[in-house]
């Protein structure tokens, strides 16, 4: 349709001749697959922002403790970790940091895979790899915090 004809299409619009209804893009219809009828992406978007704000404190605090205070990285050792994980406060700090950072990072990578992997198969398998690595890392890290044994030897 040329520009002139679209101008004439709006001529005479009034109460008796209303403008044609334009469907909003991506409106949900009977043909929309069930899997896209949830608000998952909205919750993901909100989670990225809320977890990000909490992670500022947790991760920057962690880096300050590990790399700056008390001699920096030179003091890190098994004995140092034993001293820190003797306190439920630092166990909880590390546990929350582990879960939030992993889920925040994994959700971010999911977005990036969706952006760049164009073939359906590639996208599917990259995400399976991501989810497997994420579940493995979160479970391992959680297990390590809860089963830590200062007298292992």
């Amino acid at each position: 349709m040329s520009a002139t004809s679209s101008v004439s299409a709006t001529e005479g619009i009034g109460p008796d001749n209303p403008a044609p209804l334009v469907e909003p893009p991506r409106a949900r219809s009977a043909r929309t697959p069930k899997s896209t009828r949830t608000n998952f992406e909205l919750y993901g978007w909100v989670f990225m922002r809320l977890s990000g704000i909490v992670l500022v404190v947790l991760v920057l605090g962690h880096l300050l403790i590990q790399l700056v205070l008390d001699g920096g990285v030179s003091k890190v050792s098994f004995a140092f970790v034993a001293g820190r994980w003797a306190s439920p406060f630092w166990m909880a700090w590390d546990l929350i940091m582990l879960w939030l950072a992993m889920l925040h990072g994994a959700n971010g990578l999911r977005t990036i895979i969706n952006d760049y992997a164009q073939r359906d198969g590639t996208r599917f398998w990259l995400k399976m790899l991501l989810y497997t690595a994420t579940v493995f890392t979160v479970l391992l890290g959680t297990l390590v915090i809860f089963t830590f044994d200062p007298n292992i030897r």
Partner: protein, 126 residues
């Protein structure tokens, strides 16, 4: 890609690129980091021998890079949140980006000695 069609955004696009790259870097580090921390369940020696790698001069430089990535991602992430939730956020996004860059420079200068000091002493003696 045909010549002359590359989209070159301004501050907004480049800060988005940097946010994406730093986010991926931190995620990959975290994966390795949980594995190295898990060595505390193997033996104190296994953990201490691996953590010794963190104390070498070359890795100290990489740690400074990690600090750079985390600081940028954290500060710019707060800017993204401000753009999304603060009514005037979009109007001030550029000023906020330069605030982020300024804060980042100050914090990086402050982190230089604590993170790199031991590496400099080891390489240049004393």
């Amino acid at each position: 890609m045909p010549a002359g069609t590359l989209y070159r955004g301004r501050e907004g696009m480049w800060s988005w690129v940097a946010h994406r790259v730093t986010g991926v870097l931190i995620f990959f580090f975290l994966f390795v980091h949980v594995l190295d921390t898990a060595l505390v369940r193997v033996s104190p020696e296994a953990y201490d021998d691996t953590i010794a790698v963190y104390k070498t001069p070359l890795v100290a430089v990489m740690e400074y890079g990690l600090v750079a990535a985390v600081l940028f991602h954290a500060l710019n992430g707060l800017r993204v949140v401000a753009v999304d939730f603060w009514a005037s956020g979009t109007r001030y996004q550029k000023q906020m980006l330069w605030t982020v860059v300024g804060l980042w420079l100050v914090l990086m200068a402050g982190a230089a000695y604590p993170v790199l000091g031991h590496a400099v002493r080891e390489v240049f003696g004393s």
